[in-house]
Symmetry: D4
Subunit: 149 residues, 8 copies
């Protein structure tokens, strides 16, 4: 049983790498958004031409990124959504909403300070954790039944 896991949300720390390293020896396939911030912001105009209006600049880029996101969420069994300490991160909550509506198993990762603001997202999740290590432990348990010792 190969688990297909999409790692959504915050792109300014190395939490994805931590999870992948923690699962290096088990049968899990990971996917992720483009995590280079500038590429993610400017991909649309870089390929399809500049826009005078910031709205359309962002619109072109967000749609290109959506091609990847929709594919990855659609293929996933599990969607892990991390909310970091900074920024609005509405795209993370938007991904969580899509994943939930599509019947994916959702794992949410955030610090205690955001607990009340994320209560609707947490209520839709099958697990709520604070650390990458916990995500890796969950994936290992789901995959082969072993628990941390």
């Amino acid at each position: 049983m190969t688990l297909n896991v999409y790692l959504a949300g915050e792109i300014h720390s190395n939490w994805r790498e931590e999870i992948m390293q923690g699962c290096a020896d088990i049968d899990v396939q990971f996917s992720a958004p483009v995590t280079d911030h500038d590429s993610s912001d400017d991909c649309g105009v870089a390929i399809m031409g500049a826009e005078a209006d910031k709205f359309w600049h962002d619109n072109k880029g967000a749609k290109l990124n959506a091609i990847r996101t929709r594919k990855a969420i659609g293929d996933a069994d599990i969607v892990v959504v991390r909310f970091g300490q900074k920024y609005k991160q509405w795209n993370a909550a938007f991904d969580a909403g899509q994943a939930y509506a599509l019947g994916k198993s959702v794992i949410v990762m955030h610090q205690a300070e955001h607990q009340h603001a994320l209560k609707e997202v947490d209520a839709a999740a099958l697990a709520v954790v604070e650390t990458s290590q916990q995500v890796a432990q969950i994936l290992r348990y789901v995959q082969d039944g072993s628990l941390p010792t």
Copy 2:
């Protein structure tokens, strides 16, 4: 053709009433979340008993509210999502994600200052507006084809 419209998001201003008034004479059915802030926060423990831990206090309430939200989004043709000036409003983005994944037509309403942070949500929408009046005009146009004069 009756339009079924769910008004998601911000609950601290009277934008829902403005839209409803602007559509009072056309065939539109509106639904909304419970907009009493205290009821929304405490409904779970009020009915099912107190919790020592804030996480479970919120979890019980968020799940009760989800019964209403899921029904309303599921029945809707159009989901209007408003992002206000304050708070994290992750639940608004979460509702938008669900609506999009379920194939609902999404209208997003926010001020210009949030444009960049909401680019993924906006990119999934069929209309992005700033005012309640614009939402009412859109619903009227969709319903009967008339435009503001």
Copy 3:
């Protein structure tokens, strides 16, 4: 917003009537299985002819009842599943499984003594309660936002 609620499970007490009475003044439509125990057991052979083998006697009846159950669960927004004090009640858990897989909002009602045995069903529910009064309060809150005073 009319709520469509299916009341599944135990048929030896008047819990359904209590819920309906508690919701008499709000916009909720209820459905239920055939609650006459003998009719439910014997409907198949009564209409389609006797069977020598108890397995087929029961099989004929269970399939007729399934016509009603599938219709009712399919139409429901919310499925309330009550586990009583007696019997195996595997059909209640089976209905809960169907409801969950179909994306219905599930409310589970049982006494504390069954908590551990029902943990998988409870984990799939949006509310877990002990009394009919609590179910009625939840339906009222979901319908119009009012809480018990």
Copy 4:
């Protein structure tokens, strides 16, 4: 044609191994829940932290197990559900309900004494058997058309 089979239900005997051995030479892929009883009960708190309340202790664990169950049922062509001699086993009936609603072919395995109590589940099944050997024979017949001699 690879058959994907999920073996749900009772975890206190070696029926899964018997089926797998009986199908060792044909093209069938098996999956199963975590069958270590203690791990299954305590996985949630082991990874995500202790809970004072037994309900939430169990809730955390049941949700982790649901990640695996949902994946396995979702991938399965056939779901075999065994009801043993002991315990309530509502989770087995709950899995059967999910499998049936998702259009999976359901095989039920139980002793004659539970026939009447399981009539609704049996009525939804494409085969009802008593032994592991019969399940293996069915899978072999479905796979390559050969019958026991």
Copy 5:
């Protein structure tokens, strides 16, 4: 709970009227194919112009009839399929296959002589009967729980 019932199959006897009369006082909505044999055969060319080739003559007509059949099966909760004494009646079995794949509850009605030839269709049904009276009794039981006395 209104039951929506499609009466498929044989068009040379008055079995539909018998069922409708037997259900005149309960909440059931019936639909049926066009039962005028000549109209059903010739509708296509009557509206869209003659065809030299019998295959296309029939093709045009069968497609018009499919507009009605697809609508009626799609709206139905229950599809009753009657196989008469004469003709190939492949369209009846074809309708049964569609109904089954769409998750409709299927009731099959035929004489004992066709039992072996219809075993696959019967195995997909929730009830197999011989008479219109039995169908009416089933619909009554599903609707209000009352059995013939």
Copy 6:
């Protein structure tokens, strides 16, 4: 049985009115796009503000119109698509593609000169006609079984 019919395509002749008049006495509900050409082109900028670039001017309008189209096609049992004598009419073919993929019954209406160019669309249709009168005759036959005399 109420038929719900969406009339897609050409907006420069009165074919919709002809069909509606021909069906005035039977149980058919019609929907249609906004057929005022200027409103349809300019609705987006009229409500949401002018665009310097024609692409975005059209994009805003086309998305507003899509809210109506998606609702109408989604609710329809039958989608009639008319290709007129002029213009590219790619939106008509685009609507036909959506309708077909969603399992709607498609009726195509065009002159003989476009037969070869429309062969893929015609091949997906259940009826291909040249006149409004023929569409009305089909809807009448599907509704009540009567043929033109």
Copy 7:
């Protein structure tokens, strides 16, 4: 692009082998029902025990065969249904109905004498042919675009 093809219907001639041989050098995966007539009839009682009543004897067998049929049709891109010269063959039409409702591409194979009786099935098909050679030619064309010379 691997084509997955299910060969349904008549089991008394070697038409399946002819198609497979005609496609031996292209990328097509075939599946089929169990074509041993006695095994197909008696599989249920052979594994699950004898039945006194012929109806239940057949019912047990038909349900086992359904496990294979549902899997094969569900996995198929294309379902070829052959109607032979003899027998009622309602199961072939039943399979065709399932395949059509599930959105599979249906190819029907029969002699001219059955044309009128099969008009509804033919009208749902994307190809109607008389010989195995034609089926093989179609699969080859769909796979690689080459036509018979």
Copy 8:
């Protein structure tokens, strides 16, 4: 993450080869319609026999081609639709409509002169481009996040 891409539309230039060459070193699987114009037009009668009427000649061929198109669109993550300079190309818009309704990510490729006529198709797309090179750049960015330098 393997991207599955269907290249729909115009068949009179080598745009498909340009895209495939531009993506030769990344993990993308391409599919396409039969691009030999004569084969595409005549496949139906070549295999299934001549037709006197051009409508049925084309109908037979279009249905064979639909077997391939439906398979390819169904398997695709991304559907690229190119509108060339000539012809009506209603089949391209029809494919785009199917792809959009099935939730595929749509990329549209056309020259500026067709912008207004294609506004509804463009509005449903996640990217609108003019050249094969841009399509290849988009697929590369979606696949591995790298942008043209």
